[in-house]
Every structure is written in C-alpha cells, then in structure tokens.
C-alpha cells in the first residue's frame, strides 16, 4: 500500500511540473511584459520590484532558461508576491485552503452519498413513480447553473424564510468557540454545499442507476439467486459493490470540475476560500495570484485522485496495488 502510494506520487511528479510549465506559458501569453504582469497590472508593485522580478526570472535570457528559473521558483514554493493583498502568494493561498477543502470535501461526500442512495432507489423501482420522480429531479439538477441555484437558494432560505445565513463561513462577530463555532460553520455550510452538490448528485444518481441496472443483468446475479439468497442480500452483497466501481472512476474524473465549481459557489456565498480569492484576483487582474491558485488546486486534484485510486484498488481486487 505504502509502496503503491509512493509510486503514484512519483508518477504524479511530471504532471505537476507540466502544470508549472503551463502556468508559465499562460503568463507569457498575457499581453505585456511578464514581470509587469506578475507584479499586478495596475501598478501594484513598484518599478524597483518589477526590475527585481525581471532579474529573478532572467527575462532577458532565452525562453527555456526563463522557464527553468520559473520552475525552480515554483518548486521551492516561491509563487511571488501579491501587492494587492500585501502577502506572498503561497501564504495567501494556504490561508484560504482550509475553507475550500471543507466546502469541497463536504460537497464531494454529500453528492456521492446522495447520488448512490437516489440511484439505488431509482433502480429498485425502475419505471415506477419513484424512479420517474428521481429522474426528473436529476435531469433538472443536470441542467441548472450552479451559481443560479445558489442565488435562488439564498432568495428562498435566507431572504424569504430568513432561516439560513446568506454569506460567509461563520458569524465572526459572535466570537463563537468550541462546539458553538462548529455548529455555526455547519449552518453556514448548508447552502453552499447544497448548491455545489446538486449537479454532481445528478451525475452520480444517473450513473448509479444505469450501473445497477447493468450489473443486475450479469450472470453472477443468477448464481447468487440460485444459492437461495434473499433479494436484499443479492443487491447489497453482490450487485452494489460492482455497481460502485464506475462511481469511483467518475468521482476521480469529476473532482477537478468540482474544485472549479467551488470558485463560483464561493464567490456567490462569500465563502472565504481559494475560489473567492480567485474572484478577487480576477478583478484586480492579479494574474500571478490566479496562476498560484491554479497550481495549488491542480496539485490538490492530483492528490485526491491518488486517494480515489487507492480506494478503487481496495474495492476491486482485480486492480493490483503493486
């Protein structure tokens, strides 16, 4: 297991370097001098700092050498300085990582659990009213813009019914501590998580339903029935485990899309994570900060994907860990 994880981490290394390189080329692509772009376009940094950057990245030298110095800087966690926020980019991102991880992982778990549960309910009642209702809900969830759901939920639960907070991660003014604080954060978490998971719940619901129906036709199901197992045992002991495999694969593929989705949800709900930071960077045209966020979140996706792979190998004995 440990060896598998180390090997996967080693395999991920080139991908990480490629992401660094990609962000370098994107910075180059931006109109204007790269040092000026990095310093923040609208005169965030002093002329001295820009000159300093120029030397640090060797911008007078050939492209390939520039790339190397950029890679070296990024690899040593030097992502530059954000004049807008008056903080090194890396520290800035790290301070926002927690809230984003909380939002992401909660939504990830909620969407998979809800999707699997709804998928089972639909498949067990195939072509009956329950299935139809679930199908309508998931079709709608699949077609609704995330940010609009967020706005409509705010309209409904915060403005009309005054039940849930509109924005932020906690009520800072209340100075909550201990369990009261956890409860407060959980309360703030409800609407963002619902908005972010709606689409992905729909994805997993449909996939789970299709996967269960496909697996139910397999020969091993007849074998299980021929052993005298009750339908529940056939379903939960045999079919479900096989049907979950595509869900895991899909979860690995969707994680990047979900992290992307959290940007827009964070900016709708004022959730103080990397997404909101990206939104702020966007308006300040702080491209260097934006690149830093792109790099850190891509690395996050890679790490979560490795975790998903380990999980997959645990569930499916056909995948060998070594």
């Amino acid at each position: 297991m440990i060896r598998f994880i180390t090997r996967r981490l080693a395999q991920a290394l080139p991908t990480v370097l490629l992401i660094f390189a990609l962000s370098f080329f994107l910075l180059k692509l931006a109109p204007g001098d790269m040092a000026a772009v990095m310093a923040g376009e609208s005169g965030g940094g002093s002329a001295e700092y820009v000159q300093n950057l120029r030397e640090q990245y060797g911008l007078e030298r050939p492209m390939i050498l520039q790339l190397f110095s950029y890679l070296k800087n990024v690899a040593t966690l030097n992502l530059g300085y954000s004049y807008r926020q008056n903080m090194p980019v890396f520290d800035l991102i790290m301070s926002r990582l927690g809230p984003t991880a909380l939002l992401m992982l909660t939504s990830f778990a909620v969407s998979i659990l809800a999707g699997v549960a709804l998928g089972i309910a639909a498949a067990r009642n195939v072509n009956r009213p329950v299935d139809r209702v679930i199908s309508v809900i998931s079709t709608l969830g699949y077609a609704t813009p995330l940010f609009w759901v967020g706005l409509m939920l705010i309209l409904l639960f915060s403005i009309t019914f005054r039940q849930l907070p509109t924005s932020g991660m906690e009520n800072v003014a209340a100075f909550n501590e201990g369990f009261a604080r956890v409860k407060d954060i959980a309360w703030h978490l409800v609407l963002p998580v619902v908005s972010l998971s709606l689409f992905y719940t729909a994805v997993y619901t449909r996939l789970m339903r299709a996967s269960l129906l496909e697996q139910s036709k397999m020969n091993y199901v007849v074998t299980a029935e021929a052993k005298g197992l009750a339908p529940r045992k056939v379903m939960y002991g045999h079919v479900l485990r096989n049907a979950l495999l595509p869900i895991l694969t899909m979860a690995g593929v969707q994680i990047g899309s979900m992290l992307g989705g959290s940007i827009i949800i964070e900016s709708v709900f004022g959730w103080p994570g990397m997404g909101l930071l990206a939104y702020e960077a966007l308006f300040a045209r702080d491209l260097n900060l934006l690149m830093g966020i792109l790099i850190v979140s891509s690395v996050m996706v890679i790490l979560i994907n490795i975790a998903v792979d380990v999980l997959y190998a645990v569930v499916d004995p056909r995948i060998q860990l070594n």
Binding site: A143, P145, F283
Partner: protein, 274 residues
C-alpha cells in the same frame, strides 16, 4: 435512418424539447431584427415590473430585459456551439488517433488528455479568459479548452474497442488503407456515442459560458444570460426576477438539449445492436 427519426420523435418529451430548442434558435437568429429595442439602450426608468410596458421589465439602468434575453440567446448559443464544435473536432481527432494507433503516440496523447483533466475545469477556463483579456472569442477558447478531454477519452475508448472487432481486421486483410478503415468502417459505428456526447458538450458549454459571464468575464458590450444574472445579483433582495428570468432561460435551454441528447442515445442505440 428514418427509423431512427421515428424512434426519436415517438418520444413525446424529446419532440417537445426539439420544438422548444427550435424556437430558442429562431429567437437567437431573427429576434434581434424583429425586436425594436437595443439591449444596452436605456429605454425607461429602472426596475419597471415585468408584464408592464416592457414584457420582462427593465433593469437597474432602465434597459429592456426582454431585449437582453433575446441578444443573450444569440451570444450564449454562438459561443457554446463554436466552442463545442472545436472541442468535438479536437477530441475526436485526438481520441481516434490514440485509440486506433495506440502505442507510444497513443500513450502520449492520453497522458496529455488526462493532464488537462486534472486542472480544475472552470478555474482553467477563467485563467484562459483572463489571460487573453475577456471577449466572446476568449470565452469560446476557454470553454473549448476545457471541453475536449472527455470527448477524447470517449472516442479513444470507442475506437479502441472497434479496432479489436473482426470486421476491422477483415478490412485490413482486404488491403484497405488506414483512412478507409478509420472513416468508413470505424467512425460510422462510433457516431452514435459521439453525437450524444456532442449534445452534452453543447449543454455544458452553455453552463460554462454563463458562469464565466456571471463572474463578469465578458467585454460588457455583448449581452449574455450569465452577465444579466451577474448584473442583477446585487438586487436579489428586492428585484429578484432580474436574476430569475435569465436563469430560467439557461435552465430551459440546457434541459432541452440534454433531453434531446438522451433521446438520441435511445434512438441511435438499437442500430448498433444486431
């Protein structure tokens, strides 16, 4: 092929969805010529209620919301279509090459595809648009850049499995050149899943475009549904319909395209089973 059409239209929901999409496309095409008001022109006092002098009221600056919706349809659909076509073309080419030829080239192409899938989709699109400076073109580029990897993966899987089929080997044994095998034998047999994927890509592209415009990543002169929601957001508490109406437009459009995609899947599939 006629039986495919029959199967498709015998599905009532799909037929309705097709009609609705047809109407939306019609509005996007001819609406701007028929509707009198310009979306960016100030025509009345702000916040006129819907169903008054203006069918959908006016916004914060007193601009006609209905006009915005009509011009927005044009923007959203154009960007989504262009981006999806580019993504489909790139994805199909890359996936087909990787699936048919395999080997080192195929491996490299797939590594590349997986690489682009690890970058958080929406964030990548945001960065591209920001770097290229926001405009309809850069939004289309951004949407296309994040939409092709799923297509490439699907096409590769399809080509890979078709490549093992005996009729493909038989064609090779007859001396058929690669282009004949790829385009006459394999592609027609993979068309159904690609078409279905295409419709889903368009739907996702509309969602992506609206999200980008919602964040303010547009040049401001072109109206789009996402932009309207973003602009109305501040007044959610009092003038909620400024957000609700364009949102409904997006929902209905994407919903109909998805329904069509699914019905196509059902209608095209029986042909593949013998």
């Amino acid at each position: 092929m006629s039986s495919t059409a029959e199967r498709f239209f015998s599905n009532r929901t799909a037929a309705t969805a097709t009609i609705v999409i047809g109407l939306i496309v019609l509005v996007a095409l001819v609406g701007p010529f028929l509707y009198p008001n310009d979306p960016s022109a100030v025509v009345a006092k702000p916040f006129e209620l819907p169903f008054g002098a203006y069918p959908l009221g006016t916004d914060v600056l007193g601009r006609d919301v209905a006009a915005g919706l009509i011009y927005g349809a044009r923007t959203s659909l154009t960007v989504a279509l262009v981006a999806s076509l580019a993504a489909l073309l790139a994805g199909t080419l890359i996936g087909a090459t990787a699936g048919y030829y395999g080997g080192l080239l195929g491996d490299m192409l797939m590594r590349c595809t997986e690489f682009f899938q690890t970058i958080p989709t929406f964030l990548f699109a945001v960065v591209i648009v920001a770097v290229l400076t926001p405009s309809m073109t850069s939004i289309a580029v951004g949407v296309a850049a994040v939409s092709w990897p799923p297509v490439a993966r699907l096409v590769r899987a399809e080509f890979l499995s078709m490549r093992q089929r005996e009729f493909v080997h038989a064609a090779e044994c007859l001396g058929a050149p690669d282009h004949q095998i790829l385009f006459q034998h394999i592609l027609p047999n993979c068309l159904a899943p690609i078409i279905v994927m295409g419709s889903l890509t368009v739907a996702q592209a509309i969602l992506l475009e609206s999200a980008l415009s919602f964040l303010g990543l547009s040049d401001g002169s072109t109206f789009s549904w996402g932009y309207m929601i973003g602009a109305g957001r501040t007044f959610l508490r009092s003038e909620w319909w400024l957000c609700a109406i364009p949102g409904m437009a997006i929902l209905v459009t994407v919903l109909c395209i998805n329904i069509i995609g699914e019905a196509l899947n059902d209608a095209l599939n029986p042909l593949l089973k013998d």
